[in-house]
Point group: C2
């Protein structure tokens, strides 16, 4: 039996946003590996073993998945959204470092609808012009790096999408980010808080940076800051196709 | 009969990357509007009228779609990839400006797998850390804006994804972009050319910036430039989860 490892994106939450490619991979899997709440989205069936794990053990999880593939299992590692955007794909490739035996395995990444694109679609088209995508969690990088990126992004006049804006353990980071953004972009710039998009808990809020407060975000929220031309039309927010 | 307008993303090419949400919208449509090659991906059936149009008439196309929805048609505007990323969603919202009669229509955006995420998945995980996304076409903005954005992106140490890197009419733009990138990032930085990802014409090439030449890209290519930490492992390219 030849093993394989597929790193699959489940999209932001709604089943109708899971691609047929991913549905097919799950239907053929012998083992599904991932963070508990994502594994819980996979239907149980005979012949399929679910391996839910805790948050923040990405490398352990990746190594366990590769070890199973190496002994012939058909393993799917699941992420929410897209596996290549602040999710499991990088962790799997990190786990391949120095393991030439694993590097020749059948490994594929199946893309998914990442949270910022589902959030943008729900709001209108705030990412319709050049944009950047920043993980605001300071678990994996120092605050100084985040601040530098925010300032360059503002001066480039990128729209910006933020993942993991506000952790329970370090709520002050997002407050500092909002301060930097107000300095660089002014208080009239539009900011959209998109929580749990495509799920029954979906909540959208667009305000100006002047009116934004950290409590508008939690860890289920994607935050989108417009560029200098981003505007409202009717109930929508969008960035025009031409440069701001 | 109540009309509606759905702006739907068909993904990068492969049918198994079209979300069930989009498939369902197409099954319920009376009219499909879009650039000819994208409309050609929609199956013909009785009761469905296809309205293919030329490239670069996005605003006319958006207005025509809205006018049909206003008289009760169920219209789907199709884009490849995601409609909110350099595609039709912004054009539709531009067409809503000053038209309060159209602003109250039932309008929804359905996300799709955008080209850079399909390209990243095919290559490994080069967008696995903070990144930006820039349309290199100078149809809609001056070269000076593009250059400023490239320099800020490099100094922020973003990975970068480029859409429309090289037009037949202005091939010199991408050559200039590569020069700016070599100045800012050095010649060892990895760059991936991903052409027609997920289609039978798919072609992937990763080289260093020093070895990159403009002819490696055409208008069907998405280009991904790594950050300072982006590296190869086995046949893959990825950006580690920690800051470069």
């Amino acid at each position: 039996m030849t093993g394989s490892l597929i790193i699959a994106g489940l999209g932001p939450g709604k089943e109708a946003l899971v691609t047929p490619d991913v549905t097919q991979a799950l239907a053929s899997a012998t083992d599904v590996v991932g963070y508990g709440p994502y594994v819980a989205r996979v239907a149980r069936r005979p012949g399929l073993t679910l391996h839910p794990s805790d948050n923040r053990v990405e490398l352990d999880r990746a190594q366990a998945a590769l070890a199973m593939a190496a002994v012939g299992r058909r393993v799917v590692v699941v992420s929410s959204g897209d596996p290549g955007v602040f999710a499991m794909a990088s962790a799997v490739f990190e786990a391949l470092e120095g393991r030439e035996d694993w590097q020749t395995l059948d490994i594929r990444v199946l893309p998914g609808i990442t949270a910022m694109l589902a959030a943008a679609a729900a709001a209108g088209a705030p990412l319709g012009h050049d944009f950047c995508c920043i993980n605001l969690s300071d678990n994996l990088k120092p605050w100084a790096t985040i601040e530098t990126r925010l300032r360059h992004a503002a001066r480039a006049d990128f729209a910006m999408a933020f993942y993991n804006p506000r952790s329970a353990s370090r709520p002050e980071g997002f407050m500092k980010a909002l301060e930097v953004l107000r300095q660089e972009c002014g208080t009239d710039r539009l900011i959209t808080f998109a929580r749990a998009v495509s799920t029954p808990d979906e909540k959208l809020l667009t305000v100006t940076l002047g009116a934004a407060v950290p409590e508008m975000a939690d860890m289920r929220t994607v935050v989108i800051v417009g560029n200098s031309a981003t505007r409202r039309v009717g109930r929508f927010v969008y960035s025009p196709r031409r440069a701001g």
